[in-house]
């Protein structure tokens, strides 16, 4: 009875945002975990279950929790279940499905000294198979900001690893040579770490400070058993391929100043869609607005003649298009991409607020309509969407929903799209 009541309670929070031209469901707000804040959701689909994972709170109080939705997007679990609540911070979860299980990855400060990458398998039935977490990368210095993809046989985990002088006093006239490289390691469906030492995936190559550290990496499985991986280097998205846990191509830039960060991929087996954040306000040489935001590649992941194109049609925020934190999914018929963007309300104060949008594309990248608002409420903003699809027409978009009244916790909002 209590369970039914809880499910009923979480389903009554309906969003007033009308969907334009898309069959978006009403909003569901997922139950918080013990009144904690819900941040940075990630989502994946497998065995007719959508698993939404997120970070509770932040700093040393941060833990990782999850909640399952059924194939129609309704909560299966009345309350989130704990995936990792070890001592100190566990942050920034990502999730993928393959071989009958979900693999959730995150970075972890339980060692107290620096970030390490941990993972845990979660069954579609909601059982956490590795309650203490699997140490994927525990070397000296930071291993952090992990992502995970399924290559058809095993999970490939990618992370940023700090290299170079950490504490040294900088030399006269120069800074210490240090920055983040991208590393990888595979995890089997039985929870075995196959590359204990971590494999160097990509190094920064530029001479400018901005390109001496790589951004957060992401990957997607290709039909040939390889993975396509990518990360920001300077202001450019760089792509490379991975086979059996090893890079098999050098990072290649996908155009000039194509993106700044938050790269994400999805595929339908025939084409691959890459998306990224298009804006930064660094001022001067480091600032910029990319008018692109997406790139469609062939199934082999080769850049070839593919050119970045515009993801969003909405000209917002003083005429500039800002796409941030884009998250793509293939729903069986089309690509769906959700993102957030800062908006400025008319006739009110001039404070920006974060709003959520989505847009659909054919497999060759042809747009199917314009941007559609998912959540746009100055008093209750939303951001950091995570999209996942069942490949049969159903897509779930999960996101941080900030409360109208700040005496209520930040929660995870969900809207589904058929």
């Amino acid at each position: 009875m209590m369970r039914i009541l809880m499910i009923a309670l979480v389903t009554v929070f309906a969003s007033a945002v009308p969907a334009r031209g898309e069959d978006l469901s009403k909003e569901i707000l997922l139950s918080p975990h013990e009144k904690t804040e819900a941040r940075r959701p990630a989502a994946a689909h497998g065995k007719d279950v959508f698993l939404i994972v997120w970070q509770t709170d932040r700093n040393e109080k941060a833990d990782i929790v999850g909640l399952r939705l059924d194939g129609s997007g309704k909560p299966i679990d009345a309350e989130p279940f704990v995936i990792c609540a070890e001592k100190d911070a566990q942050e920034r979860p990502k999730v993928a499905f393959g071989g009958g299980v979900f693999l959730v990855v995150w970075h972890d400060l339980r060692g107290e000294k620096d970030w390490d990458v941990y993972a845990a398998r979660v069954s579609p039935e909601g059982k956490v198979l590795d309650p203490e977490g699997i140490a994927v990368a525990k070397a000296e210095r930071n291993q952090c900001e992990a992502d995970v993809a399924w290559d058809g046989r095993v999970f490939q985990v990618l992370w940023r690893g700090f290299q170079g002088e950490k504490d040294g006093s900088p030399g006269v006239g120069k800074l210490p040579a240090a920055g983040y490289h991208v590393y990888g390691g595979r995890v089997s469906t039985t929870g075995q770490v196959l590359d204990r030492a971590g494999v160097s995936m990509a190094k920064p190559t530029g001479t400018q400070r901005s390109s001496r550290s790589l951004g957060m990496a992401a990957a997607v499985g290709l039909p040939n058993g390889e993975l396509l991986a990518g990360a920001r280097s300077g202001g450019t998205l760089c792509l490379w391929r991975v086979r059996d846990g090893r890079p098999v191509s050098e990072p290649k830039p996908a155009g000039k100043r194509t993106g700044f960060d938050d790269v994400a991929f999805t595929t339908n087996g025939k084409t691959v869609l890459a998306v990224w954040t298009t804006f930064r306000d660094g001022g001067g040489r480091s600032s910029g607005v990319s008018k692109s935001g997406m790139l469609v590649l062939g199934a082999d992941g080769e850049v070839g003649t593919a050119a970045p194109v515009s993801l969003s049609t909405t000209i917002i925020n003083q005429g500039r298009t800002h796409v941030r934190h884009p998250s793509p999914a293939w729903d069986g018929n089309r690509y769906v991409v959700a993102w957030d963007s800062p908006m400025r309300p008319r006739g009110k104060d001039t404070f920006h607020y974060e709003a959520l949008f989505m847009r659909s594309f054919a497999e060759d990248g042809t747009p199917q309509g314009d941007d559609v608002p998912v959540v746009s409420d100055p008093d209750s903003p939303a951001w950091r969407p995570a999209a996942a699809s069942d490949g049969a027409g159903m897509t779930v978009i999960a996101y941080e929903r900030h409360p109208k009244m700040t005496n209520l916790p930040i929660r995870i909002g969900v809207r589904t799209l058929k």
Binding site: E145, V172, G173, G215, F351
Partner: protein, 366 residues
């Protein structure tokens, strides 16, 4: 009074999860020795990583989202700052040697608990003023969103509130500034009263006789002398708060000596001044020097300006820079440096476009 101070400091320490490390707050306010040499250590990198670049965790490997726009330090060495393109206040905890998120998270204007409060954020071409009381209990930040609202972060209670607009407020500019004593003071340049707030003391000032040209970029206060130091991307100015008289103490750009060189205070001119802070006992004023240069130390006792840089004998410190060596001995391109901020125990903190540094006094000095 001393007992009260001890109680306050104990409260601050209790707010953190572990006891403060060596270098706990001291009540004695001394200026750093004139010829002190420092070792520099990076606390936070700026790799221009943009949105995923906001990485907390161990100092020395943490990242800022983008440029650090302004920073201040409490007497225990806890650093607080704002960044471009990120509506949060971040901090370095001296007790754990870690970087954390202090307040905010998403754009907007919403008061309440620090985890959910929303800030408009800070952009490259806007100035962020931030000050924290020496006891680490009260933090004030000028939010760039909207029309520039002063936001009060009560670090003791964990709440954020909005105080008012920083300009066109009660007939003048609403100034909130940290004094050399570590106390925060507030006043209105029109001479009217500042709004009530438990985080600062209200200062009664004479109406200013000359208004700032368009904005105060940075300022520093010596309340014993009732002097406010300030600039608006030009020469360093002072206002005598008892009379409202405004004076210029350095040369205008293009006047005085060559830009980016040091010497007497009155002949010093800046290429692009940025941050400003004052030493714990008020002898030195620090002015960040933008666009590829350094930070200047104005010595009111010797009436001399020196620049921060690498020293021939090793370490870093204050030195003359002339036409021939003005671009050498610096710590890389500094872009938009804030001013160095020194705390009473002698440690310093400096933010440039590349990194936030901790400056540890070296034994022996020069």
């Amino acid at each position: 009074m001393k007992i009260l101070r001890v109680i306050i400091l104990a409260g601050v320490a209790a707010a953190f999860s572990t006891p403060l490390r060596a270098g706990s707050p001291t009540t004695e306010r001394r200026d750093p020795p004139e010829n002190q040499t420092y070792a520099m250590r990076i606390l936070v990198w700026n790799f221009w990583s943009s949105h995923c670049g906001m990485l907390n965790g161990p100092a020395g490997e943490a990242e800022s989202t983008d440029l650090i726009k302004g920073h201040d330090v409490d007497d225990a060495g806890n650093v607080y700052w704002t960044e471009c393109d990120s509506p949060v206040i971040r901090g370095y905890r001296a007790d754990t040697d870690r970087v954390v998120t202090i307040a905010g998270g998403i754009r907007g204007l919403a008061d309440g608990p620090i985890e959910r409060a929303r800030f408009g954020g800070w952009s490259y071409n806007s100035t962020s003023l931030i000050c924290v009381s020496g006891d680490g209990r009260h933090l004030f930040v000028r939010d760039v969103g909207g029309k520039g609202q002063w936001r009060y972060v009560d670090l003791e209670k964990g709440t954020v509130s909005t105080l008012g607009q920083w300009h066109h407020f009660r007939g003048g500019y609403f100034i909130i500034v940290k004094d050399v004593s570590g106390e925060i003071y507030a006043f209105i340049t029109s001479g009217q009263d500042a709004p009530d707030c438990r985080g600062y003391k209200k200062l009664k000032v004479a109406p200013w006789k000359k208004e700032a040209w368009y904005a105060f970029d940075r300022y520093a206060l010596d309340v014993r002398k009732m002097l406010l130091y300030w600039h608006c991307r030009g020469p360093t100015m002072t206002t005598d708060l008892r009379t409202g008289e405004v004076s210029q103490i350095t040369a205008k750009r293009g006047e005085g000596r060559s830009k980016n060189t040091t010497g007497t205070i009155v002949e010093t001119s800046y290429l692009c001044p940025t941050g400003m802070s004052i030493s714990p006992a008020g002898r030195y004023l620090y002015v960040g020097q933008g666009d590829g240069s350094s930070c200047y130390r104005l010595d009111f006792e010797k009436k001399q300006a020196l620049a921060w840089g690498g020293l021939d004998g090793g370490g870093f410190g204050w030195r003359e820079t002339g036409d021939k060596n003005r671009s050498t001995h610096m710590t890389g391109s500094t872009g938009w440096p804030a001013a160095t901020v020194f705390i009473p125990d002698g440690r310093g903190y400096w933010a440039t476009c590349w990194a936030l540094y901790a400056l540890a006094p070296m034994k022996g000095g020069r």
